[in-house]
Symmetry: C3
Subunit: 142 residues, 3 copies
């Protein structure tokens, strides 16, 4: 059986991890590339469609290019987290409002995440984005 201290620590970890993903959304929505990068562990990785960006330098390049001008608006939900000491795994749904060449796009999918506690703060160790669809709003999903 876990102690009260251990049980409380798990709830606090999950609470902080949920807020980590919320902070990610706000940093993306505001095009704050540096703030996004700081949410990743130094060796953190972002994966999308077979590509990956590993470590702060590559993440910085990704988010400066991808987030600063288009400022997608992600909304994260349906979060399941399993904490194991200083690491955790999670899965969360996401809906994103984007603009592509002046046209409204809508995206839905989920993230497969791994988190690690670094200097007392939970960070993304690995964020694997699995889109269900990525389509013009005028056309919709199929």
């Amino acid at each position: 059986m876990s102690t009260v201290e251990e049980r409380l620590a798990v709830l606090e970890a999950k609470d902080e991890i949920r807020e980590l993903t919320a902070r990610y959304c706000f940093a993306v929505a505001e095009g704050q590339a540096e703030a996004i990068v700081e949410l990743f562990a130094p060796d953190g990785v972002f994966l999308l469609k077979g590509r990956q960006w590993a470590g702060h330098d590559e993440l910085r390049a990704l988010y400066h290019a991808a987030a600063e001008n288009v400022t997608p608006k992600p909304y994260i939900q349906n979060h399941v987290i399993e904490v194991s000491g200083e690491e955790a795994t999670g899965r969360c749904g996401v809906e994103i409002r984007m603009v592509n060449k002046g046209e409204a796009y809508t995206v839905a999918g989920h993230y497969l995440d791994t988190y690690r506690r670094v200097d007392g703060h939970w960070r993304f160790l690995r964020r694997d984005f699995r889109p269900y669809h990525w389509v013009p709003l005028s056309r919709g999903w199929s």
Copy 2:
């Protein structure tokens, strides 16, 4: 006054119930009918528009027919939960991306839920889905 143990148990119950609804979304999004059914208590009930499916056999028939091919994408939010021992009631909002005869549909509504702890795991005892609208994305809500 509640003890620390009791207060912690309530927070843990609510945390697990929120994850139950998240797991439901992922199982639906992936068309995993058996996984959806397992999230219900053996005598669990799903209700929609005056119809109901009670018990694992009826739920299995429902979700095999409804979820395996179309794989709606539900996103659950705005969750309010009241725990009372081994049972709980909850209300949560939902937005769903569906496809109907090749056309993108958007659904919004909320669930009125009852949960029960079965063998140490929270399950749906009753899930009553109250849609606000269920419309082609191209037409929108009114």
Copy 3:
């Protein structure tokens, strides 16, 4: 270091504040102006686009006019909360489905919130709504 009691109290406060924002969504979705007003502290303020409504009387006028007929459907997500004793600050994302002159509108943005505990219940002390866009669904965001 915080005691177990203090740490538990913070998690309970955050849990109740998240439910406060969920209750707000349901009251708005159902056009229950009085129920919305009760979620604000007596001196609570709502701000939107440079205008503000302060205190229950002004809030009552706002929500009777704005919420009773159109019943927007807000979905709140991405919630970050910092508790400091009997007050707290928070930021949460929101997507809203509205109808304007018979036409479907979609809204996205976030709230900058301040909360206060009043008679043992968390209430909105200040809710500043910052929309990203507020557009016909048929046209989409840009």
